[in-house]
């Protein structure tokens, strides 16, 4: 295990080390002090444990890597990630998983607004609640919410799936509740199994997705454009 300490190293030093590391390396990052853009642009299967909370864009645009934050994360956690895993033990701020193309994000706490905005294939699991406008324009992937969802969930959603165990304050435009089919239940179980989440009752989840009524312009929908 390699220890990288913010008390001794700069952000550039730490990111350069992570980006240039060998496959299967393991790093422990100490004293992150809420630093922004930490552990971004990693292109290898390495494991990084961050001891403490981080700022904006932690683990942004990563491929293959496993990142664990023992603390909370600021806005844009795992933005545009391509593959790999992120686990945050605390809460996360706005835009978690924004435009993520693949991989998975597991948050033990709550997520703020716009969680999963423009997601393009990433799986996001929030053990707590999510804020308003989550899964806005979500294109592909899955957002699993164990707690409650704020207003306008799934507004203008495309082909992503949303699973919610708690209450939904309101649905956004063109987002509707859909039948939980065997296929979708299996999908939910796979997502959670892949993230090593087992303490849940699948029967408590409801599924939401696109009504697909806004995919092509219709004059009768003019009031909601």
């Amino acid at each position: 295990m390699h220890i990288l300490d913010f008390n001794k190293l700069s952000l550039r030093d730490i990111n350069k080390t992570l980006q240039g590391s060998d496959k299967n390396d393991f790093f422990s990052i100490r004293n992150p002090k809420g630093s922004h853009a930490l552990a971004v642009g990693i292109n290898k299967k390495i494991t990084v444990k961050v001891v403490g909370s981080v700022g904006y864009y932690c683990a942004g645009m990563n491929k293959f890597s496993d990142i664990k934050v023992e603390g909370s994360a600021g806005p844009g956690l795992g933005e545009n990630m391509m593959s790999g895993n992120i686990h945050v033990t605390g809460d996360v701020s706005q835009y978690a998983g924004a435009s993520g193309h693949g991989g998975s994000i597991l948050v033990d706490g709550n997520a703020s607004s716009r969680c999963g905005i423009s997601m393009k294939g990433v799986d996001i699991i929030i053990k707590g609640n999510v804020g308003h406008m989550s899964a806005f324009m979500a294109q592909r992937g899955n957002l699993v919410i164990f707690g409650d969802a704020g207003h306008a969930l799934g507004d203008s959603i495309y082909e992503a799936n949303i699973y919610v165990a708690g209450e939904v304050a309101s649905l956004g435009t063109d987002c509707i509740e859909k039948k939980m089919t065997k296929k979708h239940l299996s999908n939910l179980e796979n997502i959670l199994s892949n993230a090593n989440v087992s303490d849940y009752n699948p029967d408590t989840f409801r599924r939401f997705g696109s009504a697909r009524s806004l995919y092509n312009f219709k004059v009768d929908n003019a009031k909601i454009y």
Binding site: V40, N43, Y56, Y57, G60, E79, N80, A98, H101, V219
Partner: protein, 438 residues
């Protein structure tokens, strides 16, 4: 029987023929007009400025003998590998999807022949444009369609697109006719849907966030490539100051004549300000921050010839960018396709339904047969010729003003033909010392 009127039929200035036809079209279809291109209004523009030339107080350089530098370096504020361009004319961002793969290849070929850069667009980077562009700027757009870190690291520069001159505050649009299998896959969208891109970035708002976003992009790319920030011409003084403060290496300001692949006509013609009005406030913002020439300024929107290039540079820009003009050089709206344009209910020179994917010139289409009409090699050669002509024209003017570098042109080399253009450009009305507003 009623007596025939002896006066001529009088048409309304307010309700002119185009306006009336648009009212009828709206009543018939129930949807706003969507089109490509930039503003078609008769706006104050660079034609309203003139160069004074050299005389007794200043002496000229020999037109074909004395050197006039055209090279420009973009992005040396923080990046270790700035763009080194042979000419101060770049190719603006235009997406694969909006344009055919052949058109993107032609743009890359043409730009590379003359040593300048081209730019991706909404929808990601194609192998055609990367392969044929020696210097490629990769756009980070609100939609993040096709955005991935591998392409980010292949780019020679990154352009964060905040806005576009044709639609400040609006997102892109690509209608279902052009969302074929390849375009759909690159954008992670269902085939055939009407794609409406977001108008805001998904993971930041405001200049303080943007500064952190720029930090993230630099960390991902090892501080090697320049970061551009592109803003629409609306509040250029503030937007340029904020972009520079946020850490941009280069700021691109796109006036309302700048084109788009598709958006609402009402947006194109009524939101934003003319390119001419953008340059001086943008330059002033950089000067007041002590960053003029340190953060380079690129001006775009309706640049057509070497005179426009020279005027933009004289007002303080470091380079210009062209989009619509580059497409015309490739063959867009060429009279040789007049019969095809007539079949679409338009004429060569007026065709702007780029969103419908039926472009007879094979440029703004995903139709394989139409796209084959454009030979990328020939298109690239035509673009290179055009860029060379523009450069030589700008040099001709610069030498006549006694300048051995295009960027030595200055506002004092200019005068204005109208009060409006004098006020916008901050140069005196011709024959006077009067600069309105000073």
């Amino acid at each position: 029987m009623k007596k025939k009127s002896i006066t001529e039929p009088r048409t309304s200035y307010t309700f002119d023929a185009y306006t009336n036809s648009e009212i009828r079209r709206a009543a018939e279809t129930g949807i706003y007009d969507i089109r490509g291109g930039g503003s078609k209004r008769n706006l104050p523009n660079f034609d309203d400025l003139l160069f004074l030339g050299a005389s007794i107080s200043r002496y000229p350089l020999e037109g074909y003998r004395e050197a006039c530098n055209t090279k420009v370096i973009l992005g040396d504020r923080f990046s270790s590998n700035p763009l080194n361009l042979e000419i101060p004319i770049t190719i603006a961002g235009m997406s694969f999807g909006a344009l055919s793969a052949q058109a993107k290849e032609a743009l890359g070929r043409g730009a590379s022949l003359v040593g300048t850069s081209t730019t991706t667009g909404d929808g990601g980077m194609t192998k055609e444009e990367r392969g044929h562009s020696k210097q490629l700027v990769y756009q980070l757009l609100p939609s993040r369609y096709g955005m991935n870190p591998d392409d980010l690291r292949k780019a020679d520069a990154i352009e964060i697109v905040v806005g576009q001159g044709a639609k400040p505050g609006g997102g892109g649009m690509l209608l279902g006719q052009k969302i074929n299998d390849r375009v759909a896959e690159m954008r992670t969208l269902p085939k055939g849907i009407d794609q409406r891109s977001p108008c805001r970035h998904p993971d930041w708002t405001g200049p303080d966030d943007m500064e952190i976003k720029i930090l993230e992009l630099r960390e991902i790319t090892g501080w090697k490539v320049p970061i551009f920030v592109k803003v629409a011409g609306s509040r250029p003084y503030y937007d340029v100051a904020l972009a520079a403060k946020s850490g941009a290496d280069v700021v691109v300001v796109d006036g309302m004549q700048g084109g788009t692949a598709a958006t609402q006509e009402v947006f194109i013609e009524n939101v934003g300000i003319p390119t001419l009005a953008c340059v001086r406030p943008a330059v002033r913002a950089l000067q007041e921050l002590g960053l003029h020439r340190k953060v380079q300024l690129i001006v775009s929107g309706g640049i057509r010839n070497g005179a426009d290039v020279a005027k933009a540079l004289a007002l303080g820009a470091d380079a210009v960018s062209i989009g619509s003009a580059a497409l015309i050089a490739l063959g867009d709206n060429d009279p040789r396709y007049q019969k095809d344009y007539e079949k679409l209910g338009t004429t060569a020179g007026s065709f702007d339904d780029w969103h419908e994917g039926l472009d007879p010139a094979g440029i703004t289409t995903q139709d394989k047969k139409l796209a084959k009409r454009l030979d990328p090699k020939l298109g690239g050669r035509r673009l290179a010729n055009y860029l060379n002509v523009m450069t030589m024209e700008a040099q001709t003017i610069a030498r006549a003003c006694g300048k051995n570098d295009l960027r030595n042109l200055e506002p004092e080399d200019l005068c204005a033909l109208t009060v409006e253009s004098a006020a916008m450009a901050g140069v005196p009305l011709a024959g006077t010392n009067w600069i309105p507003g000073t």
